[in-house]
Symmetry: C2
Subunit: 548 residues, 2 copies
């Protein structure tokens, strides 16, 4: 058996090593276009920052090591230029020479390449970079070291864009981030991404959203935005997203689908017999909706690589789809998500409900506790969990990992309070934010609490609702709604007569806990009440211009 | 409606506040024997260590705060001395006076009290302490400050015992830990607990296991062990476990069961009408076995308190049982567990299989990665996950939380590779240790790998097996099995002829990954091979006297 693998990073290399473990005799050839295989692609921005100090740390395995340990024929600098599915051969270009290699089974793991937006003057600029592999990072490091740019522009505020914004800022470069979408991190929801915008600004990164870059002038020294703004810069990173590296597959007659993703069946076989594909280039099913989606993440790619090796070895495996769990650290904040976001659910036409809870990463009485904002998106009828997002300084990963596991286990919001997490003061709280999110969602489902979202507040007020802030005067002095009555929670029972009976009351506090208590008090005294979900702290983060 | 709650900490106070949220008008009286309610009982050892600096941080809520916010009638220093279930009254002793309070519904949340072992001379010693509440910690701190003990003995190496051992050591006190069970942390398995023994010793804590303390002499200056050993000490902490605080319940004719635990139905009602119970004093069902068990942990107690408030308010709730997820930090190591351990499964007569994997807490190429040892216990036929244990420096909580969630979601080991965790280099790896544990378990279930456990090695060798160590010479020089052939993995293909064909080959490396690769190579060349699960690093931790 002779297996040829095109692409020697996450999916391809996972497949190659698993194949060898299952089959000591198979001939396994890995063709990698670039000079390195099995490199730490997710580590590249940290190398730019200087956090990963040694370039050699990025090179996880060499062809020599892979040969010694796995008897793999790994060929870097070897570009597959053509597939002949009838003859079952691949044409390879290496060091200017072309040769042909035959296969019994072919695996495509070409990955995704940076999308290059149509920006005038791009080609003429010598200071424009993308970041996908080690040669890219070498070019960036060479430029940064030699030219010592003072200003950088990051076009595209996705995960890589923001990691690079932080990395460049760490090098003392003044960074501007431009994002075409209405907010940074377009795969997350606006109010959650707002915490990251705030953190970027706190670290002197300029953030411009809702605008695209249209032209590059002065050989890269000026970027022109859609709104006419001209911004000086010394360095430009393009990170507006990726697209499947599909040209070889298309040339071979392999079917592609949504946004050019390579179509595969649940065994990873493409439309062409004996050609399989894994990784960022393939279409997978979103776990909850079972709709086609493209996911460019290392974890699914690695899993798929291993699974396809099992398939090729005759083991029963199925691609069960992906949740798309993701995380990014931006300076001192971390934001993570799993499953579907609001925008995706709206596109699907799915009815959903949202709840935000705020809780400490560990016991509040143990030193250095920090706040996590956790958002849960769920089906208000069945309790099905559609997705979750969290932002904070510590412990964000843990909460999203638990919820991602709960979604895979088809647990509902009713089950979240039942989850028993490790608890000791340095690690969590007896009621973890994930438990609290379940309680809060259940309160909504059972009608014990009713809430409105941050983006609904103004309309409620226009329609005559009354905003009651139950925080303490000291908190109110530090920032408040333009128009709200303040009665501290602990005085509410005595001062309840001050609250008007003939209006819908919207209650808010700092984080949402006290406002819920106020809601319950008022409701049981005959008031119409709704809790402002996420409360003042969320509102002031996403609408800083609307608070005082 | 008048509800009386006996016990004002985790379960009782969760119930009281939830009751108020659901019912603004109910009369809610909380009777607490001690001077404080709602204190941070899990924080007490950290206060002894000085990590929590302010005593006031331990007092989470005061009766005054609870009155202002929740209109609760909280009565500290008020001991319920008798229940009359017919008259529906509770007799209360407070400041030397006795009075009676009537109830419509009574909730018992008395907790568990330290078990006092039968040790001669205990009563005569003035330097013997237990740790359950704030007065206990006050006494300890007063003694420690005033008497400046140089030596301390901790009798009982459970969670509190080890937290206190660390805390006392942080104060510069020379600590000896004595545990009657064969190893520290008797609720975990021996080889996992061995990592903590090693960490204790590394921090100059003396560890004596398999021996109980039988007498205290010289007014507490000498502890006599079962084996005749006499140990000098200045301070003694008794932490040999807890027992349900059940005397009030028994006097009231309430049925108790296993080890004195208060029996409740799934709605938390005891055998006596209108009397409910929650927390450490009740019997709950172990989640997997549905057998009665006692669990003294804050998280289930808090959940039960809230649930019983719902029950008392007419909402449909059921106690679904507990997994018993737990964690403890001991110096720089953390160990955690969820579900059943090997001993419990053996007692149940359940057939199970074990796998140990070792993986980094985050990407190895990102700075400061540390190793996690993760143990998974599962049904080798169905893949049902019975339990998991993990030990390491960082990220142990996260992995056990995910597996605890997986167990609650009835996921199997086949599902673990499918779990999609947050991955970026500072947070994890594309293949998380939890994924790896799933892969490893699946390899065992599918016969791709066969393993033996650390405690089986000697018998295999006695029976003629051949031990092959595939580590590099540098690693072998740092510590090795007494009797093993060494062929580095990368040379194994060339040197395979040196491996005898007529013996069972046991392969080992440092962490278990390379030995698995060696196993696959050898198997496909016709050898009978078994992988030493956990490999040399586990073996040298649990059997340090048997390695060189």
């Amino acid at each position: 058996m002779k297996i040829v693998i095109i692409g020697g990073v996450a999916g391809g290399m996972s497949a190659a090593t698993r194949l060898r473990r299952l089959n000591e005799e198979a001939e396994i050839i890995v063709l990698e276009k670039g000079p390195y295989v099995s490199f730490a692609n997710c580590g590249l921005p940290y190398y730019v920052a200087g956090e990963i100090e040694e370039r050699s740390d990025l090179l996880v395995q060499t062809p020599e090591q892979l040969k010694a340990r796995f008897k793999l024929d790994v060929r870097p600098n070897s570009e597959a230029t053509k597939i002949d599915p009838v003859a079952k051969t691949v044409e390879v270009l290496s060091n200017g020479e072309t040769y042909t290699v035959a296969y019994d089974q072919l695996l495509l793991s070409p990955g995704a390449k940076p999308f290059i937006p149509p920006i005038d003057g791009l080609a003429a600029a010598k200071n424009v970079f993308t970041l996908r592999n080690v040669p890219d990072v070498d070019q960036i490091m060479q430029f940064v070291t030699k030219e010592a740019p003072k200003k950088a522009m990051v076009i595209g505020a996705g995960f890589i864009g923001l990691e690079m914004a932080e990395s460049l800022a760490h090098r003392g470069i003044a960074v501007t981030v431009v994002e075409k979408a209405p907010h940074v991190l377009p795969t997350l929801d606006e109010e959650m991404a707002a915490y990251i915008t705030k953190e970027l600004k706190r670290n002197q990164v300029e953030v411009i959203t809702g605008v695209s870059a249209t032209a590059i002038e002065d050989a890269g020294k000026t970027v022109v935005l859609e709104n006419g703004q001209h911004i000086d810069t010394d360095f430009i990173l393009l990170s507006v997203g990726v697209q499947p590296e599909n040209s070889l597959a298309i040339d071979a007659g392999i079917q592609t689908g949504l946004r050019g993703g390579i179509m595969v069946d649940e065994r990873y076989e493409t439309s062409v017999k004996d050609i399989y594909a894994v990784g960022d280039a393939i279409l997978v099913k979103q776990f909850s909706t079972q709709q086609d989606t493209l996911i460019s993440l290392a974890s699914p790619a690695n899993r798929q690589g291993r699974q396809v090796a099992d398939v090729l070895s005759g083991l029963a495996r199925k691609n069960l789809g992906s949740l798309g769990t993701a995380i990014v650290r931006v300076f001192n904040k971390t934001i993570a998500s799993t499953g579907l976001n609001e925008r995706q659910l709206q596109l699907e036409g799915t009815n959903y409900q949202v709840v935000h809870v705020q809780g400490k990463n560990h016991a509040g009485y143990y030193p250095n506790a920090t706040m996590i904002v956790l958002k849960l998106i769920f089906n208000p009828k069945t309790g099905e969990i559609y997705g979750a997002q969290a932002v904070g300084e510590e412990g964000v990963d843990k909460r999203i990992d638990s919820i991602a596991t709960a979604i895979k286990g088809r647990l509902t919001v009713q089950d979240l309070p039942e989850l028993e997490f490790t608890y000791a003061p340095p690690f969590g709280s007896a009621k973890d934010p994930v438990n609290m999110a379940g309680y809060a969602a259940l309160n909504l489902m059972e009608g014990i609490s009713e809430s409105i979202q941050w983006h609904e507040l103004n309309q409620y007020l226009v329609n005559g609702a009354f905003l009651l802030d139950v925080r303490n005067p000291g908190e109110v002095a530090n920032g408040r709604f333009e128009k709200a009555m303040n009665i501290p929670l602990d005085s509410l029972r005595e001062r309840m007569a001050e609250v008007p009976k003939n209006q819908t009351i919207i209650v808010s506090c700092q984080s949402g806990l006290r406002s819920y208590l106020a809601e319950r008090m008022l409701k049981q005294n005959g008031y119409q009440v709704k809790n402002l979900d996420g409360a003042f702290s969320l509102y002031e983060t996403v609408r800083p211009e609307e608070v005082m």
